[in-house]
């Protein structure tokens, strides 16, 4: 890094490479480098082992279920000729995550803009700390709160929605049970992924070139005009990347959802109705009562979750990294 911080002398062309010096390291230094390299490699090994051992544990269940593992909706791995599949579970996991994103992304954009562009300087630090504090509040606490307090309030919202807009298939509810629903879980998960989305977006927004912002203001733009013309286009990568990171978190969320929902195994669009499902929550709920096939099936669920979140997170860091380097701001 620091090696390139010198001025290239006149007369040297750009592709003259610095002389590489043969280094003869002492044994102590070589041991030091080896130890550092080994710690670095250990993360690679651990992640490899995660895939291997989840696959190993999942193998018996996957062999029993075959390809129907991806299409079945019921979950009875321990029954005599048990049939089980992840279709309904993944469906509801995605629905919870989508509801969470639908609520969290606009709030996160607004919060990030407020912290960077609207808040007084003194408040800015406090708000940044608050965002980080929100991220540190355990999932368990959000779940307890959602179950004991927010659930009731949100059931009221759900009732209102289904009475006044029940003709929309998503808001349709059979019966009169509005608690433990996909909607309630989605709202709580939205609160949980807000901090990460906000902090990613805030950081990308903060890299907006000041000259361009001041240019917009100097040309007579209002503050909102400046935000819309400069900050938002510049931060588009941050908004997408932050949303995808939040999606990754939302898909993997476990304990809060486990405390809120009651599992259901059908695929429909009724998000306000009681009952929902999620990969993580089902693992947590079923672990204690699972037999040997059941355990293996849960490990298969874990493997699926691992694969999904890896893909989403890789895509997210790709987008965020590209939005940064593409803007050419970070040296």
């Amino acid at each position: 890094m620091a090696a390139t911080d010198f001025d290239v002398p006149v007369g040297l062309s750009g592709d003259d490479i610095p002389l590489s010096v043969a280094v003869n390291r002492s044994p102590a230094d070589r041991r030091f480098r080896l130890a550092a390299r080994a710690s670095g490699a250990s993360t690679l090994v651990v992640m490899g082992l995660v895939a291997v051992f989840l696959a190993k544990g999942a193998w018996p269940a996957l062999r029993i279920a075959g390809a129907r593992f991806f299409t079945r909706t019921e979950w009875n791995p321990d029954a005599a000729n048990g049939s089980f599949g992840i279709a309904a579970i993944v469906w509801w996991t995605v629905m919870i995550a989508l509801i969470a994103l639908l609520l969290a992304v606009p709030l996160a954009v607004a919060s990030a803009l407020f912290i960077n562009e609207y808040a007084p300087r003194r408040l800015r630090r406090a708000l940044t700390a608050l965002v980080d504090l929100l991220a540190a509040i355990p999932s368990l606490i959000y779940g307890l709160w959602g179950r004991a307090f927010a659930g009731d309030a949100l059931a009221g919202v759900a009732r209102w929605l289904s009475r006044n807009a029940g003709f929309v298939p998503m808001f349709d509810v059979r019966g009169d049970a509005y608690d433990s629903s996909t909607f309630v879980a989605g709202v709580i998960v939205a609160l949980m992924v807000l901090p990460i989305a906000t902090s990613v977006m805030r950081e990308v927004f903060a890299q907006t070139p000041v000259a361009e912002k001041e240019g917009a203001l100097a040309l007579g733009a209002t503050r909102w005009g400046m935000v819309r013309a400069v900050v938002l286009p510049f931060g588009r990568g941050g908004i997408i990347g932050g949303s995808m990171l939040a999606l990754g978190r939302a898909l993997g969320e476990t304990i809060a959802i486990a405390l809120i929902i009651s599992p259901k195994y059908v695929v429909d669009a009724r998000v306000l109705e009681r009952g929902s499902n999620s990969v993580g929550a089902l693992i947590a709920l079923k672990f204690g009562e699972a037999g040997s096939t059941g355990l293996s099936a849960l490990l298969a669920l874990g493997l699926a979750l691992f694969a999904i979140t890896l893909v989403v997170n890789f895509a997210a860091s790709f987008v965020v990294a590209r939005s940064r380097s593409g803007a050419g701001v970070e040296a």
Binding site: M1, A2, A28, D29, R31, F32, A36, R37, S39, G40, S42, L44, V46, M47, L49, F53, L54, G57, L107, V109, A110, L113, F114, E117, L127, T128, D132, L133, L134, A136, I137, P138, L140, I141, L144, W145, R147, G156, W160, N164, L191, I196, S199, V200, E203, R223, W224, G225, G248, G252, T254, L299, G302, L305, L310, F314, A316, F318, A321, S325
Partner: protein
Amino acid sequence: MSVPATVDPAHRVPERPVRPRMVGRDDGLVLVGSAASGMSLVWVVYERLLPLSGPVGFWLLSYVAFLAIYRSVVRSTHGALAARDRVMAVVVTSGALGLAAPLTLIILFVFSKGIGALVKPAFFTQTLAKVGPLSPEDQGGAQHAIVGTLEQLGLTVAVSAPLGVATAVFLNEVGGRLARPVRTIVDAMSGVPSIVAGLFVYSLLIRTLGWSFSGFAASLALAMLMLPSVTRTTEEVLRLVPGGLRESALALGAPEWRATLQVVLPTVRAGVVTAVILGMARAVGETAPLIMTSFNSSVMNWNPFSGPQSSLPIYVYRLVGNSDPGQVRRAWAGALALIVLVLGLFTMARWVGGAPQRRERRRQRRQAPAPAPASAAAAPASTSAAAAPAPTVDLTRTDHPGGPQ
């Protein structure tokens, strides 16, 4: 800063930039007035005239009516452009409120539910071993869970802190062909759901190697979750250490390992400690991996290496679904204890993280009588590790989204 002597004092330029007022005096009144009239309008139309009612609809529609009225008022006095600007300012601000409000609600709610059982001494001195449905309120507590939490947290830090710092040293100081994939994988690791970490430890240690459920197994799962945040934060502060510091140490003949361990790492001590404490704050509340690693126990288990062990999160998780209201009260006390622990760790992290800046400010205050340019030049010129300008970075950030840069 300093004004050239030739300027006549009477025409002196103000030293602080003039900040044009964004919000005038009557703007606040317009805001309050619009809110009041929006609410009144919705009350009349929605609650009285139409056959509808309900608090949710009322507040939702009031907000919309407020925005519409506010827009037309500002539009009539300041024009369309200003109206859009003001309305968006209100929207953005209410978005930020939507972020801040839940935290207050959550803390107040857990406090009101948990304080009653938390202040009883039994919470800290007794376990659940002899607790039945008929046990009185002042019996039974979370001593076993507190012990488990402390032991597991200690083991988690003992595993993840050295490994995380060493990995960061590898990424930033040693480097090589392996650095790129390691950085990518560390990023990927920070997105691994906690339940997957628990399943992995269960599958490897308990199912394959035949360990029993234990606190240590839980610590390993937690360490896996904490490692990426320690690594990325440490790497970030290491990147801020001026290269001259390393080069001076090497030029003085220090071997690489001494330059790293005795010069580079001490300058980022505050940053590393902050990263570790923040990692602890996040690990301490993790519940999902504990279900399949430490399991749970209602009796005291001092040995984290063998047998099921309780800890605060799993204690709360198991008790809160109990049909016995006494147990539920104990669960809320545990939740409050957990929040206090997280808040305490978080405050400590901010305090430690702010220490270098505080020291710097004190130093500057001591040197205040000296002319300003001298003190500004003094900081970068100092080469000793202790006096080096403290790297400043927001250590408490939540994420490590960046890929290879």
